[in-house]
């Protein structure tokens, strides 16, 4: 089947276009780099079906981050029949170079000038007809947030897909050294020889290796000669060639107003050290404490788990099953202490669903408003001692929602070092929303405990970052990021995004929850649960906790949020006093990441590093618990 790829800088509206074309909403955000994986969909154009790919942001053919490399690999391996380059119209001078690169690489391209509404408001004037003539590919003006330009784009797509690929071939001028190097190449590549030559001269490792495999020794010697020449000259010129070319193509047909965008008061506040801090406290208080903690974990959980499931649905269902099934073992598996329905589904639907969806709702709001990049800027100086930069704010903040999702998003960080540090912090000291919601709800009765919990977990967060930063080799990567305009998010977009994330979450967790119920049932039936609990008892005693907590930690490992829900149960049944509750809350927060997160950690960081992180988490948790217990003992004396 023919294929289409959506390409463009981060945060220009690719995912929104994907939604308009396929009806499928992937996470779209006012934050660069939210799409970390390629999304595949289907689109019907002129009665024919095509495969369409939404890709992570890409600035140029010379990738800087892993997400960019992912996109270039897609272009290389799938060689799509049509590339739709989505750009932010008002920033065209900066984005047109990529259009030219795509054309020069030999792709059939449509240039989309998106966000025309914002460009017009800013006083930008573009002569589309002349632009299309100069670059030799169709140009479509659009504003996808309003649905503008979608029909025109579809028309152009149909036209190009029906045309013969070789018909539309526009030769761009190349840098003389690139043209020369290209003329030596003999083999066939998915990209044009010009592009391969350019990447070779930029010493792109992936391309260099390939060229060495495919070309004869003679050709390689010629190429080495070209490379030496490039190095002798000012190589900046090669790097800037497309920028200069784009400048020439836009001269006279892209006019900007002399008006300056002023920095609004709110924005200025966000970027100041003190203002940024106060704003963060307000956001954390309203977003995390009031909405996730009080409303989600308090009110909604009471309503769903307490009233709807606990008093109405489950008793009726259980009574019905008891009449239907006579085997006690089967009954136990379904509605027993660790039953699939009484434990697995009850937690999943009654406890986790309301908390996590409240968090995702808050997070979507923050993303779309454009606050997160400003938070990243503000946090940059705080992240410095931890060996991270402001960019790490996205995965870390998302980690308060779901650590598993957050580990996936560490891909947006530049170096392996940063990805490791961020993964470590996520595993050890960042509680996921379900955990957080329950802990907030549990501890909020005692504000002192809540404060102590915050201090304890916060200091461990900073301490482990500092230790890792001094232990790991290599430098920290400096921060750089675009600050997209601040916008008032639209409710429907936020709801759609929350829905998309919840679907992902439930696809991931429902099977895990049912699996865990079955496992626990098995452990209980065979008596193994008691043995594990006995085995953990001395550890619990070390931290001054009742032995039942062993089971809770076991839950916590299987699924973090599940463990938090177990803690809730124990507290409700009166097994824990105040001090023990605090210790349990701290230890559970620091404890091993859940099974799902561990799985993603192994996939993203490798088995070895995942195990190291898990081991450290265990150690840190037990030490912290022990320390707190000693502190309590001292306080009593």
């Amino acid at each position: 089947m023919h294929s289409i790829a959506l390409i463009g800088n981060p945060n220009v509206g690719k995912s929104l276009l994907f939604y308009h074309l396929t009806g499928n909403y992937v996470t779209v955000a006012n934050y660069p780099g939210t799409t970390v994986e390629i999304t595949k969909g289907q689109v019907n154009l002129g009665g024919r079906n095509y495969v369409i790919y939404d890709t992570p942001g890409m600035y140029s053919f010379s990738p800087i981050t892993e997400e960019e490399a992912v996109t270039r690999r897609l272009l290389w391996e799938l060689a799509p029949d049509l590339v739709v380059h989505v750009t932010d119209a008002k920033n065209l001078p900066r984005m047109l170079p990529l259009t030219l690169e795509l054309i020069s690489a030999g792709f059939q391209v449509i240039l989309v000038l998106n966000m025309m509404d914002e460009a017009e408001k800013a006083g930008v004037r573009i002569n589309f007809t002349r632009l299309a003539e100069r670059i030799g590919v169709p140009v479509v003006a659009a504003a996808f947030t309003q649905g503008r330009g979608v029909t025109a784009l579809k028309r152009e797509m149909i036209k190009l897909l029906a045309a013969n690929k070789s018909q539309q071939f526009f030769i761009l001028r190349e840098h003389p050294l690139v043209a020369k190097a290209a003329s030596f190449l003999q083999a066939q590549y998915p990209f044009s020889r010009q592009m391969v030559a350019r990447l070779y001269l930029e010493e792109d490792q992936e391309i260099k290796k390939l060229v060495h495999q495919k070309e004869s020794r003679e050709v390689q010697e010629y190429l080495a000669g070209c490379l030496a020449k490039v190095k002798k000259q000012n190589d900046n010129e090669l790097l800037l060639y497309r920028f200069r070319q784009a400048e020439m193509m836009l001269s006279g047909i892209f006019r900007t107003s002399t008006r300056h965008s002023k920095m609004g008061r709110l924005e200025a506040l966000m970027l100041q050290p003190l203002g940024g801090f106060l704003l963060m406290v307000v956001v954390a208080y309203v977003g995390l404490y009031l909405l996730v903690g009080r409303f989600g974990a308090g009110y909604l959980v009471d309503l769903l788990e307490g009233v709807l499931l606990g008093e109405i649905v489950l008793p009726v269902f259980s009574a019905w099953l008891h009449r239907l099934i006579s085997s006690p073992k089967t009954l136990d598996l379904l509605v027993g202490d660790f039953g699939i329905i009484t434990l697995g589904l009850r937690y999943a639907l009654g406890v986790i669903l309301p908390i996590v969806s409240t968090y995702f709702f808050v997070f979507a709001w923050l993303e779309d408003s454009g606050y997160l990049p400003r938070l990243a800027f503000w946090a940059n100086s705080w992240m410095r001692p931890l060996g991270l930069n402001g960019r790490a704010i996205l995965p870390l903040t998302l980690g308060f929602g779901c650590g598993t999702m957050a580990v996936l998003v560490t891909r947006t960080l530049e170096s392996t070092r940063e990805r490791f540090i961020a993964t470590f912090l996520l595993a050890v000291a960042v509680p996921c929303s379900a955990q957080l919601g329950l802990i907030l709800a549990l501890l909020s009765a005692e504000p002192v405990f809540l404060f102590l919990w915050l201090v304890m977990v916060g200091s461990i967060f900073f301490l482990s970052g500092k230790v890792l930063n001094s232990l790991l080799p290599g430098p920290r990567t400096p921060f750089f990021m675009e600050l997209p305009p601040l916008r008032l998010p639209s409710l429907s977009a936020i709801l759609q995004k929350t829905g998309a994330r919840m679907r992902w979450y439930f696809r991931e967790i429902c099977p895990v929850f049912i699996g865990i119920s079955v496992l626990l049932w098995f452990l209980q039936q065979t008596g193994l649960l008691q043995q594990i609990s006995n085995f953990l008892a001395p550890l619990m005693a070390l931290m001054g906790l009742p032995s039942q907590m062993g089971t809770v930690f076991l839950f916590g490992f299987l699924r973090r949020d599940y463990g938090a829900a177990g803690l809730w149960d124990l507290y409700q049944q009166g097994f824990l006093d105040g001090g023990q509750l605090l210790i349990a809350a701290v230890v559970l927060t620091l404890f091993l990441p859940c099974l799902a997160q561990l799985g993603i950690m192994m996939r993203e960081r490798g088995l070895f590093f995942a195990m190291i992180i898990a081991g450290c988490a265990l150690l840190v948790a037990i030490m912290a618990g022990f320390l707190l217990r000693l502190l309590f003992a001292l306080a009593v004396i």
């Binding site: 800087i64 920033n91 790097l239 800037l240 900007t256 965008s261 100086s381 921060f479």
Partner: protein, 76 residues
């Protein structure tokens, strides 16, 4: 017209980039991806805690290590 470092500029001051003081290609690429190349006009919006500049219609945040590489020519 004098050539000064970005960090010496006043908030709100405009200038044209004349030089990026590095040969590191990765850094040059990053700056290029944000539109920071010689010949482009920028305006300084903030210097503390890190740098924010405006290029065309985009606001860009930069760590001090990167800001230190940028030299511009300014009118006054």
């Amino acid at each position: 017209m004098g050539i000064i470092a970005l960090r010496q500029m006043r908030n709100g001051q405009k200038g044209k980039i004349v030089e990026l003081a590095t040969h590191d290609r990765t850094i040059l690429r990053k700056l290029r991806s944000l539109g920071i190349i010689p010949g482009v006009s920028v305006r300084l919006l903030r210097r503390f805690p890190d740098t924010v500049i405006e290029i065309g219609y985009t606001k860009v945040a930069l760590d001090r290590q990167y800001a230190a590489l940028i030299y511009l020519s300014c009118k006054d």
